[in-house]
């Protein structure tokens, strides 16, 4: 789960990290009121993705009217697929210097890494590419965390020695997001040094490991409902499915992440555009297939569905029966192509054929078939053909 900025800042504040005064506003009136208490503010869109500024999701307001107008524009905006549910109005900082500070998982090292740089405010990936020498790294021991002297060394190495004490102390506090919240990323960029010499979190990113959600039910309760994500992904989550929305029109169901991803690749290769990724797991039980189809059919863009299942321990004939039942229960009329492989696949294919479902022998054939069936008959790529079915 990626927390919104104001949520991440609440967590940071609970760890003892200074944050600027700020107020959440759900309406333009609340943004205007925020100006009255805070003075000049940055009105910031709250979405769990980067690049808000470039998308027009951050505006400075020097009057109550400007704050109201900014909130009016930003709330409800779509930023990279996320509708902005609310804005965070935050007092402006008297910036002397901007620093980068972040913990993240270094997959290659199979470890957490602390990245620190005197050049803050930039995108870290861009910084890593353009001036790798400006980044200092520390791999803290995962059992005891970073030690004071390690952090002090890092601060001096980065040329920020004059702020050694507050910075090292702040890093130690930020590290606590890892053991206490299962943070995969805990980033403050920029970390602002003010002219008064204070160190304050200008922005905050916090991603909590979904695998550890059971340890942090409080966070999910407090923050989970605010993030307005994709409606199909939310419905799929309720039904216990592994589902990712994509922007095409061919629904995809597969069992196993790798098999499902390779099915998307094949549909794309055949000239189609997948509407989703949906992994129903190893067993491919009938009710899971039905749940998957139900979510996929919610999407009005979907013009056909491809199911690709390998029957390992589950037999192909059982999978086929489950698919037929699911289709009938849902009264599904869209084209459906099913590709079964593995145990008892011939029996499974026979059952599909008897029930009017197109069985694909190879995954590639099946992908071509569904792309053909879900395209309009005339003018496959032409504008007039696209209209009817949707």
């Amino acid at each position: 789960m990626k927390l919104l900025e104001y949520q991440a800042k609440e967590v940071l504040a609970s760890l003892g990290i200074p944050i600027p005064p700020g107020v959440v506003a759900r309406t333009p009136e609340e943004a205007s009121a925020a100006f009255e208490t805070l003075g000049p503010v940055a009105v910031k869109a709250q979405v769990p993705v980067g690049g808000r500024g470039k998308a027009g999701g951050i505006k400075l307001a020097r009057s109550a009217a400007e704050a109201r107008a900014a909130a009016e524009q930003i709330i409800g905006m779509d930023i990279k697929g996320f509708r902005v549910p609310l804005v965070y109005c935050e007092a402006l900082l008297d910036i002397k210097q901007e620093i980068y500070l972040g913990f993240t998982v270094d997959r290659d090292a199979r470890a957490n890494v602390l990245i620190f740089s005197a050049m803050g405010g930039m995108d870290i990936e861009q910084l890593a590419e353009e001036s790798p020498q400006a980044l200092a790294r520390l791999y803290p021991n995962p059992w005891r965390g970073p030690l004071d002297f390690e952090l002090t060394q890092l601060v001096y190495d980065t040329g920020l020695g004059e702020h050694a004490r507050p910075l090292a102390a702040l890093m130690k506090k930020l590290y606590r997001a890892i053991p206490e919240y299962d943070a995969l990323t805990a980033e403050i960029n920029p970390l602002v040094v003010t002219h008064a010499g204070e160190v304050v979190a200008g922005d905050a990113k916090l991603e909590i490991d979904d695998n550890a959600a059971w340890r942090h039910k409080d966070l999910e309760r407090k923050y989970g409902a605010v993030i307005e994500g994709d409606p199909y992904e939310i419905e799929a989550k309720k039904r216990g499915l592994t589902y990712v929305s994509l922007d095409g029109d061919v629904g995809i169901v597969g069992n196993g992440a790798g098999l499902c991803m390779s099915t998307l690749d094949l549909v794309r290769r055949a000239g189609g555009r997948p509407a989703n990724f949906c992994d129903i797991g190893g067993g491919a039980k009938a009710e899971v297939v039905e749940n998957a189809l139900a979510v996929i059919l919610m999407n009005p863009k979907v013009k056909g569905v491809l199911i690709n299942v390998f029957g390992g321990i589950t037999r192909g004939d059982e999978v086929a029966k489950g698919i037929v039942t699911a289709r009938d229960n849902l009264k599904m009329r869209l084209p459906l192509v099913v590709r079964l492989s593995g145990t008892r696949m011939e029996e499974g294919r026979a059952i599909l054929l008897q029930n009017g479902i197109e069985p694909g022998v190879s995954a590639w054939e099946a992908a071509q078939k569904i792309v053909e069936l879900s395209s309009p008959l005339v003018g496959r790529s032409g504008p007039q053909g696209r209209g009817g079915a949707a």
């Binding site: 990712v244 790798g258 690749d265 190893g282 593995g342």
Partner: protein, 286 residues
Amino acid sequence: MSILLDASTRVIVQGITGREGSFHAEQMQALGTQLVGGVSPGKGGTKHVGVPVFNTVADAVEATGATASGIFVPAPFAADAIMEAAAAGITLIVCITEGIPIQDMIRVKDFLRGYPAARLIGANCPGLITPGQAKIGIIPQRISSPGHVGMVSRSGTLTYEVGSALTAAGMGQSTIVGIGGDPVLGMSFSDVVELFEKDPETTHLVLIGEIGGSDEERAAELLSRGSRLKTVAFISGRTAPEGKRMGHAGAIISGNRGTAKSKEEAFRKAGVAVAETTDDIVGLLT
């Protein structure tokens, strides 16, 4: 021959009395795996699927001389189970459990540095099988047959599919290793490839990767330094969008890192054939 596991390996199952543990312990026995015991705290002294159950891994190792373990315990307890196995002297630890918190695995990886003889496969993996001899994990026996193709993969069902195709084409396998779909894993592609290089019975190699991380790139780099194996690589997730986890916790493109394109290019540069689809693998291998 084979790598890591053969008919003489003495194996235990941690979590043997659970539903998954029971079922797969029996499947392992059916293939001929030397299952010598199981672990289930509180059930020591009983028998399950015909083998003695112990309270701890140390007890099981002392009584049975086991050197390998398959872990089927639930995610909240799995990290501890891995460390318990290593501390008890198990040298091949195969963790099937899905959903272990990443921070738990980071601590496990650090802990395992103190046990250099212990090899961890997984977690979130289907395990490994040496066809006709033994398996630890959940790979269906039917997809495999004894032979000379080594297989290593991050994906479960995709491995089964390719294994079935190889088997149908008469190309048996020496050992099939599923290294798992998590971002912080035990053995990497490179670790497994090194073992296949040293196994005289393995002449061919199929490597099935996916988006996320750069373990494939590192394996390509290893193969580029000289390999006696005829290798085909396949990468899934060419069309996956940036920033989305595609089913596996580790299958995510971050910025411009971890793309299928980067992995495919690394293999091509290393002189390794890259299959466009899984259907092409058999043809490229012959």
